[in-house]
Amino acid sequence: MNGNHHSNDRPAWINRSTQLLDDSVRDLDAVTLSRLNRARQAALTQQRPHAPRVWLLPAGLASACAMLLAVVVWQPHHRSETQPSAAPVAVDDGDSEETSTEFYQNLEFYAWLDAQNKGGDG
């Protein structure tokens, strides 16, 4: 299998042929040798094992923690932003205008009542 099978039991021209074939591959030009080298390296590269992806577990945990933290931090802000808008809705019960008019109409009565209370205390 080494290519140098120049045997005596076969015609001399066949031995000469194999010798010529050997000669033809001995002196290849540099470009061809370089391309052969690259081809060999490309073939060998695909065999190299890939490192086990042990970094995936801590990376996944870190991502989960970061997301949890983001949710926790964001939630109170979200509440504080929504609460003020909830308050006016609570007082805005349809007849608020009527209530405030009634309040102003009875304002003198409330003032008198207040004075009476202060006088009673005093």
């Binding site: 299998m1 080494n2 290519g3 099978h5 076969r10 015609p11 001399a12 021209w13 066949i14 000469r16 042929s17 194999t18 010529l20 074939l21 000669d23 033809s24 591959v25 290849l28 061809t32 391309r35 052969l36 690259r38 081809a39 060999r40 490309a42 073939a43 060998l44 695909q46 065999q47 190299r48 094992p49 490192a51 086990p52 042990v54």
Partner: protein, 200 residues
């Protein structure tokens, strides 16, 4: 080393073992491929007719060999590599035949089944062709004669006579019967001899 091993987890140890085994295997593979690549290129060049195509075929064969057969025992590598290469050359030949079919409609193909068996008999006393030609002339004559051979005949000649595979291994490489190998080789030798004699 033991300390380093002590600090490694199970998966890291397993990975280190795999890297070690793979680098040993890669060195052996690299050495093997270095040993066969030039001859593979020559075979492919004779079949493809161009060095660029031949380099592509050889790279393709190397990749397929490493991918599929790197784990096989080293003594099996040579026949397996040549089997992959032979398969790639057949594919190339088939594609080119289809591509050139329309161009070669009117081209008369030589029928190599019409060889006279008497012509094929080898005269061992006759030094034969090539011996009477000088180096470069002989090389060119051989190159032309080999290129003129049908693919299977050329492969049989190169694998048996140049690579030195026995009939059974050549049959496995070419994925045919031993009888077919003998037939292809016999026809190849007759055609080569005739072509080289005509060249003089």
């Amino acid at each position: 080393m033991a300390e380093i091993a002590g600090t490694m987890t199970g998966s890291q140890l397993e990975f280190a073992r795999r890297v070690d085994a793979t680098s040993t295997n890669q060195r052996a593979l690299d050495q093997f491929l270095r040993g066969v690549e030039r001859r593979a290129l020559r075979m492919a060049e004779l079949a493809c007719g161009s060095r660029d195509d031949a380099l592509d075929v050889v790279q393709d064969a190397m990749c397929a060999f490493v991918k599929n057969y790197a784990a096989k025992p080293e003594p099996d590598w040579a026949p397996l590599f040549h089997r992959v290469l032979d398969s790639r050359l057949n594919d190339f030949h088939r594609r080119r035949t289809v591509r050139n079919r329309w161009l070669a409609v009117f081209e008369r193909k030589e029928d190599d089944d019409t060889l006279d068996p008497i012509e094929q008999a080898q005269d061992l006393q006759d030094p034969g062709p090539l011996l009477r030609l000088a180096g470069s002339e002989a090389g060119k004559a051989l190159d032309a004669a080999l290129k003129a051979l049908p693919l299977r005949q050329r492969q049989a000649f190169l694998l048996r006579m140049w690579e030195g595979f026995d009939v059974a291994t050549t049959a496995r490489v070419m994925q045919c019967s031993e009888g077919s190998v003998k037939t292809h080789l016999s026809r190849a030798l007759a055609a080569l001899r005739r072509a080289l004699e005509d060249h003089q």
